[in-house]
Symmetry: C2
Subunit: 355 residues, 2 copies
DNA sequence: TTGAAAGCGCTAACAG
DNA sequence: CTGTTAGCGCTTTCAA
């Protein structure tokens, strides 16, 4: 392979500016102890020659790799991709994470992690050793996976966890935590339905594996309790799949006093709820209001369009990236916690109850 | 930053296996001239120590970077993400490209390129200099952007172009070309409608900037001509946006002899066509059949669901990656051309014409 | 404030 | 077949 004869290296810049390599390095990295005139002269050479430092070389000499790893659940991500159901989680992650990275001269590398295999240590370890990223972003359910945290810790890779709050086991440093306000969002959705006049509001929870699933239940329960309404017989759990949503919805609708509104913890389960209601001869929203907890693209195309909680996924990822980079650069607090608000998008699937 | 005391390097392996660095290197890279027993001994040490070569170091010493860049149009990609209309192009690209990369020990890095700015040279050049990728994948409309090709060529980065066929200007090496059979797909869609009994089949083309737009028109025209049907007044062009699709659809429907079926070159324009037809009091598919040229998730949720051409995006990207890696590894033909077949998914938006 | 020297982990080129 | 040497481009010592 003909190696780039044209590659501009730090040497060329040094020669051009008539300074030492070290001075050029200092300018590149914005370090102090360079006279302004020197800095200018070097910068001029850099610009003229179109010099860009090689990340590999920077990493080699013990500096940063300017790489951030985004770790997602392998099975779920691939399943979502294959299913083509419009889940745009990855897109939104990239939108937020990648653009924020670019802003700081970093790159985001997507990596799928399989926790079911016993290769976890080997696979993730290999990725870390090969790439030597400056940080990692964990999405649920990996955010709470202690083994992943341990491996990252062992490799000295700082991490930001999305959707993880508190309750660490103390063996790993806490790291950056960025969460969407799941409980608040559930309250928002519940209040919206209460305001419409609903009193029996059912809730279809997500799997316990996802801690945010519990927070959402908490929010719903809190608002119901605050309104002096009982929650008994109004809670069912699914696993985020359509089938589980259908099961849960049927269970709720078969009750003696069925709910007049149902909050589902994600889109697939909300769609299943709509279908189940139709099968039961119910009209939406006349006989049953439905709120979803995702706001993926397709909810605007269903009939009726779904009222849904909107998750600020891109902002969340962007925040995670920013905090990770800041912590590394400025030695800022390496373990801040940020909670981002969610909003409710009202569409046609919610209305006042009939009775 | 506490440098990884635990980092296992080639030295440790060499010491452990009692061989030279070079021998370890040979084993890592599967090079010949190593006795089986040596190879085994070294491999044992590698496994025991959990050694993984540092990509940065490999790149530094003139070997590969194991990085492949996926170049997408910045403006369009971000717009799609923000619009959240369920375009899953990026997901499908990742699904195919990333998994294929992983298969070979490579990583895919997503990069957005802005051709509108005059920074093109600087921005893309910087990415190439910083990352020194082993290859790049170009998606439309960049696949035909001669300046991008020139920059890649200058940096000695081999590329694979998706949706680009022939007609190079000869200044750049041809590179890998992987296309979906756009013309064939247009023929497929046209034949489907002809078989249903349609004779006036309208076509809404994409912007000329995308060469595939022209191929699709060619396929439609070829089948119409083969069926001895005129194309006059049945062709309109849009720019892939909803608004442009609405305009084109209205123009077609306002004709003296309006088409009984319309093929739109993408989903947004197909949705706009449906809307325009509704506004004109037409029922779909009774009064007008509609075929889309994307098969994004949302077409299954419209009423009626859209008959659509399915693009094998993930296979295309996977193929591009595979060819790129093969060419580099085996010194295989660096400029193969592959055309992947597309299929038609029949749904509720097409039926026999009324008249 | 600047520069010189050493070395990061790996591979290419050359010996043996 | 195996080992030695040099060097990739950059940053970290440390010295001036």
């Amino acid at each position: 392979m003909a190696r780039r004869r044209l590659a501009v290296t730090i040497k060329h810049v040094a020669a051009d500016a008539q300074v030492s390599l070290q001075t050029v390095s200092r300018v590149i990295n914005n370090e102090p102890n360079v006279r302004p005139e020197m800095r200018e002269r070097v910068q001029a050479s850099i610009d003229r020659l179109g010099y860009v430092p090689s990340i590999a070389a920077q990493r080699m000499s013990g500096s940063r790799s300017y790489l951030i790893l985004a770790l997602n659940d392998r099975e779920r991500t691939i399943a979502d991709w294959r299913a083509r159901q419009g889940t745009d989680w990855v897109d939104q992650m990239l939108l937020g994470g990648m653009l924020e990275c670019a802003e700081h001269g970093y790159r985001l590398i997507f990596e799928l992690v399989d926790t079911h295999e016993d290769h976890l240590e080997r696979e993730l370890g290999a990725a870390l050793a090969a790439l030597q990223p400056d940080g990692a972003i964990l999405t649920p359910p990996h955010s709470d996976n202690q083994e992943i945290l341990r491996i990252l810790t062992r490799h000295h890779v700082p991490y930001a966890r999305i959707g993880a709050l508190g309750d660490e086991d103390g063996h790993c440093p806490p790291g950056v935590r960025v969460s969407m306000d799941d409980e608040g969002a559930a309250r928002l959705a519940t209040r919206h339905l209460l305001a419409l006049g609903h009193r029996r509001i059912g809730f279809i929870a997500g799997p316990a594996e996802y801690r945010l699933a519990g927070w959402r239940v908490d929010g719903w329960r809190a608002e119901m309790t605050a309104a002096a309404l009982p929650c008994d017989g109004l809670l069912e759990a699914g696993d985020f799949s359509y089938a589980s949503g259908a099961r849960a919805a049927r269970a709720l609708l078969d009750r003696e006093a069925p709910p007049t509104a149902i909050i589902a913890s994600n889109d697939q389960m909300a769609l299943a709820t709509i279908e189940a209601a139709r099968d039961a001869g119910l009209d939406i929203p006349r006989d049953l209001s439905v709120v979803s907890f995702d706001n993926t693209p397709l909810v605007r195309f269903t009939t009726p369009p779904l009222t849904a909680v909107d998750q600020p996924i891109s902002e969340t990822t962007a925040t995670a990236v920013r905090l990770l980079i800041q912590a590394q650069r400025d030695g800022a607090d390496p373990a801040p916690t940020v909670v981002l608000p969610m909003s409710l998008v009202e569409r046609g699937s919610t209305a006042a109850p009939r009775d």
